[in-house]
């Protein structure tokens, strides 16, 4: 018994369904439902991030102009500037997602585009998180030094004693390395958990084609 011999019967069976045929009203309602596809989730996430980037830009800029402490002003001013390229990257991703969603491609091209889009999103997310870590640490040290300079009682006790100074900087470097490594590992794990398995599945399907 082969596929050709069963073609007609099998076709009938596939067409038969226990679900009732949808009414026009039901179909109409479906067009207003929220999509549960991965790409729509990414789109929602990108829109959410664009909104927050704009909010952060406004907030950070406000702190920059209002703050009287030079360290704080530079810290938030730098992050406000960083929000600008990040917003452009997100808008670019959103544009690509919209083009993808409004097209009807063949299966192979569709899978390739979907793979590239999700992969790009993950890479940009990872690169941006990693780029923020050294900037955040450099400014933390700068702000800390600024704080010590303004609060003599803290700084004098450390600066007087060379051993304490070495221990302090040793601890600081160790802390930066540990937290940096932790964030690196966590971000990798988080991205893999969210999209890694799905990407792997698409890759296997593309290999099948």
């Amino acid at each position: 018994m082969n596929l050709d011999e069963l073609k007609i019967l099998l076709n009938q069976k596939l067409e038969a369904t226990e679900s009732a045929v949808k009414s026009v009203a039901q179909l109409q309602q479906m067009l207003h439902a929220k999509s549960s596809s991965i790409i729509h989730k990414i789109k929602r996430s990108v829109l959410f991030e664009i909104a927050f980037t704009v909010l952060f830009f406004i907030g950070f800029s406000a702190i920059y102009f209002v703050s009287k402490q030079r360290g704080i002003a530079i810290y938030f001013g730098t992050f406000a500037i960083l929000c600008i390229p990040f917003a452009f990257i997100l808008i670019y991703l959103l544009k690509r997602i919209n083009i993808y969603l409004n097209s009807s491609l063949d299966v192979k091209t569709n899978l390739t585009k979907l793979y590239n889009l999700i992969d790009d999103f993950c890479k940009k997310y990872f690169q941006f998180t990693m780029a923020i870590i050294p900037i955040a640490f450099i400014f933390s040290i700068y702000l800390g030094t600024d704080f010590f300079a303004e609060n003599n009682s803290y700084s004098t006790s450390i600066q007087k004693n060379t051993t304490s100074k070495n221990v302090f900087y040793g601890f600081l470097i160790g802390y930066i390395i540990a937290v940096g490594f932790g964030i690196y590992k966590f971000t990798k794990w988080y991205i893999k958990k969210l999209y890694g398995n799905y990407l792997q599945e698409i890759k296997i399907m593309l290999d099948d084609l």
Partner: protein
């Protein structure tokens, strides 16, 4: 560009086609309904890309298969029915033996990967290898090679199941 009403009419006329894809890719009614809805949504979003160069059914197949292949079940904790458990029964004159063979074939198709399921579905719809190639994005030769392999695989699997 089709208006919303025109689009709904088109979907209404072709809903059997969507159900077919849903039946092939999903194993319980809740998942089938979710996929059906997702196909309708994707088709509505992409309707502007339908220029009438091919039949609407061919275009809809492309959208439905793309959606089904990349679809993820909402609630993965819910145990799905096996492919055979949800085998639809039709009151017809199919003999008992034929019915068993059909179930075996249905089960074998259910065990295929998503890409192979799409190929089988289009083959069952009597699309030519050229048309299948266009929908899948591969050459007709590649379709022919894959179909030959698939037919052999299904035959072996069916015989395995049918012999019990």
């Amino acid at each position: 560009m089709a208006s919303k009403q025109e689009f709904i009419q088109l979907i209404n006329t072709h809903q059997r086609l969507i159900y077919k894809v849903c039946n092939l890719y999903m194993n319980n009614s809740a998942d089938k309904d979710d996929l059906f809805q997702e196909v309708c949504l994707q088709a509505w979003k992409a309707i502007e890309s339908f220029k009438g160069e091919s039949q609407f059914s061919t275009w809809l197949y492309r959208v439905a298969l793309n959606t089904a292949i990349t679809f993820i079940r909402k609630d993965k904790r819910k145990a799905p029915q096996t492919f055979v458990e949800q085998f639809p029964e039709i009151a017809d004159d199919t003999s008992k033996e034929k019915e068993e063979q059909l179930i075996a074939m249905y089960k074998a198709i259910g065990n295929l990967n998503k890409i192979d399921k799409a190929l089988v579905m289009l083959y069952l719809e009597d699309y030519s290898y050229i048309e299948i190639g266009k929908i899948m994005g591969i050459t007709p030769n590649n379709v022919a090679v894959k179909m030959n392999r698939l037919k052999l695989k299904l035959k072996e699997e069916t015989e395995k199941h049918y012999q019990f």
